[in-house]
């Protein structure tokens, strides 16, 4: 069982010969799941490899289970790293793959296989024990890799885009299997993913890696509703970034309505997801916006509405039955929006597209 989780203290990571990440500090408790988000090339995989000991640490300390492992070889870190496409040992059977970490630590073969069989049952693959690992489907491979990782009883589990190679139906299946197992076993887990929805469902906290540093580290709801900066909001694909200003009375006024300004004063940007804005049919003459288009998604329908210069992606009230051109009112949920100071780049004319 894990004890103490993972701690990064001022970690520097080089990208080949170039300067990379600098002074990263992060703490992941035992049993906690953290999703590491960032654009391609931000250094997410490089960071995981450094934590696993597969690449050298340029500076700082990596502490696993309360022990400084900065100069410890990968086999003695109690940190398991899983690639995007799990590298099963194709010359071994499924059960021998799972028994591998036990056997290399000196567990007697029969005992190791018995434990491996139990782990396979937990990922619902007990009927596959004697099959060759090379003959498994994508989802089965992931589940075997996960069972094998847990057989090593790691303090830290590093998953590098574990679901990205799977089709949508398998993604959910594998994600659920991973979550069920990790709840039970409890290593500190870091998962790298490009899918922000998936990260929000999977992780207890999100770490946003931008500009070579962790710019925000908070629970998913906090990151998605209150992004730390315009840059974070844009990276997350938050669709609504609406210019406005605090009027000095503690309210922030925008073309679609006002919200509490908090400590903000002067010009600013109202940032929020579609579910922060609810469009309802307006009584005649009272509409502040007009429906421009609908966005069909697996999770429901959103709609683009325009209010003056501002274009807003909003959710639709259940009984609204709106059509393009309808006049609507917008209700803003204050706890789901955030007011940010304006930054150098103009945003109202460049609203990010819906993912």
């Amino acid at each position: 069982m894990s004890d103490g989780g993972l701690q990064l203290e001022g970690v520097d990571v080089r990208f080949g010969t170039a300067a990379g990440l600098r002074g990263l500090t992060l703490q992941v408790a035992a049993g906690e799941r953290v999703a590491l988000l960032g654009p391609s090339g931000a250094g997410k995989t490089s960071l995981l490899r450094v934590i696993a000991g597969l690449d050298p640490l340029a500076g700082g300390r990596v502490i696993v289970g309360g022990i400084d492992v900065s100069s410890v070889t990968p086999d003695r870190r109690r940190t398991v790293y899983l690639h995007q496409n799990p590298s099963l040992f194709t010359h071994l059977s499924v059960v021998d793959n799972v028994a591998f970490p036990l056997e290399v630590r000196g567990v007697e073969r029969r005992q190791a296989r018995r434990q491996a069989t139990e782990l396979l049952a937990r990922v619902h693959l007990d009927g596959f024990a004697l099959r060759r690992a090379g003959g498994l489907s994508g989802g089965q491979r992931h589940r075997v890799a996960l069972a094998r990782a847990l057989a090593a009883q790691p303090h830290v589990l590093l998953l590098d885009e574990p679901f990205s190679a799977l089709d949508p139906s398998l993604r959910a299946e594998v994600r659920e299997a991973v979550m069920a197992l990790l709840d039970d076993r409890g290593p500190a887990t870091i998962v790298v993913t490009h899918d922000i929805d998936e990260a929000a469902q999977f992780a207890d906290r999100l770490a946003v890696l931008l500009d070579r540093r962790i710019t925000q580290f908070a629970p998913p709801g906090e990151v998605l509703c209150h992004p730390a900066s315009l840059r974070v909001a844009r990276f997350l694909g938050i669709p609504n970034i609406i210019a406005g200003a605090s009027d000095g009375t503690g309210r922030f006024e925008s073309p679609i309505g006002s919200v509490p300004a908090g400590s903000h004063a002067g010009p600013g940007l109202l940032v929020g997801r579609a579910d922060a804005f609810l469009a309802t049919r307006a009584p005649a003459g009272r509409g502040i916006a007009r429906v421009e288009a609908f966005v069909e998604r697996v999770g429901g329908t959103w709609l683009w509405v325009r209010a003056g210069a501002a274009r807003v992606l909003a959710s639709e009230a259940g009984d609204a039955r709106l059509a393009v051109g309808d006049s609507v009112e917008i209700t803003i949920f204050p706890d789901r929006v955030h007011v940010l100071p304006p930054e150098s780049d103009s945003v109202t004319e460049d609203v990010p597209r819906v993912r």
Partner: protein, 262 residues
Amino acid sequence: MTRTPWSARALLALLALLALGPVLALIVQAMAASWRFHALYPADTGFEAFANLLVSHRLRSALLMSLGLALATGATAMVLGFWAGRALSGAAGAVRRVGAMAAFLPVVAPPIALGIGLQVVVLKAGLGGDWQGVLLAHLVPATGYVTLYFLGVLSAYDDGMEEEARTLGANRWQVLRRITVPALRRRLAEALVLGALVSWGQLALTLLVGGGAVRTLPVELLSLLQSGDDRVGAAAAVALTIPPLLALGLLQVGARRAGSHT
């Protein structure tokens, strides 16, 4: 199934004829007790030349020397070439280019030129005229071939498997023994055969470094041809071609059993 065009089939038949023709001619030559000029077929045939080959102590010891040298060269070149190929496949830029050229040099250098250079080194090491010196000399081109072979193989090899094994708790030796070697078993066997075949056919290096004292099958074959005993010479030449054919056949069988072809 796609039908092979007749032109391709004709080309394949020509290639097969070019490959097998000389071997067939050797077998006929070895079996021909009497074959006069102008006659299309030998007048009299028999297996005496092959029998002589088997009873000749000299040829048997040459056969054993060749087999021993080939196996030792193959095994050593497999190990050296694997590590060199691995180092080069993980390298980039100038290191990889220079390393590949260094491996390529003994492969493309004329054996006679290579032999003269190696003769100096081996004599300085006090191994001239010794089988150990010949082994060292054979290792130079064999390791070159095997390194280039592994350079190609390892470029497509998924070393993620080894990385995951390391983080699963295996030390370097356990990864080598339990992951790398089993995963590359067939490739290692092919490399061993490749290295052994380079040694098996060596004549120039053996003569120059062995100084005539190390009697391998090619050296004895040359003596037989020089002495005018063409029939036993042809039988010895047939014997020289059998082990490589057997080795290639075994590799093919292994590849089929593994579910893939070489």
